[in-house]
Symmetry: C2
């Protein structure tokens, strides 16, 4: 009786696949409207139908990186509890960056040829 290793393979593949997509998801979340970390996480997981999950640490790291290069910035707001929340949003450059990225990949996202490959 041989062990079925497909589920392991699949999850390890998906873990790798996810890498690098997080930035796109974060940007989409912020394009949708300013959000703080918890909301970004929730946005990504629900919109991706739980295909993309992410640790908050990854979000913080990612957001910090893009703050440093003036792609993302934030605004303090009071939450229900605890200290102020940082509501992140895209800067002008961030918006342009996202647009350029989408523009460059639009064929990839929507091409019927790709769809056929996936069928």
């Amino acid at each position: 009786m041989t062990k079925n290793i497909l589920p392991e393979l699949l999850s390890s593949w998906e873990e790798t696949y996810k890498k690098g997509q997080l930035t796109l998801w974060i940007f989409l979340a912020l394009k949708d409207g300013q959000k703080y970390v918890d909301e970004i996480k929730e946005f990504i997981e629900s919109k991706s139908k739980n295909t993309i999950s992410c640790e908050e640490q990854s979000l913080y790291r990612n957001l910090r990186k893009y703050q440093h290069i003036d792609v993302v910035t934030f605004e303090n707001k009071k939450g229900n509890k605890g200290p102020d929340r940082k509501y992140y949003f895209l800067t002008k450059m961030g918006t342009e960056l996202l647009e350029k990225f989408i523009e460059r990949n639009i064929e990839l996202f929507f091409s019927t040829e790709i769809k056929n490959l996936l069928k």
Copy 2:
């Protein structure tokens, strides 16, 4: 006069974004029919409209990895010149793996919600 760093940001982002997608592209290439490395490379670059480029070394490494776990295998064939070419194709498990991956991500690929986000 400030330097426009958008192109740099974009290409560095895309480099990261690409990581992890290569496996999917290789599998799609092999699903399309058995191919040797040069053909796989050409397939990926043309089908992705040059959005995804890849070094042959990456293909070899990737293929080797999946050979070891019985997801990909090959068949020797003579080329026009040089030594035999290895024509790679998916094993039964490889085919199942690809199907499971697509099945799990199908909503992500085709969801109209995602499309709207990208608009």
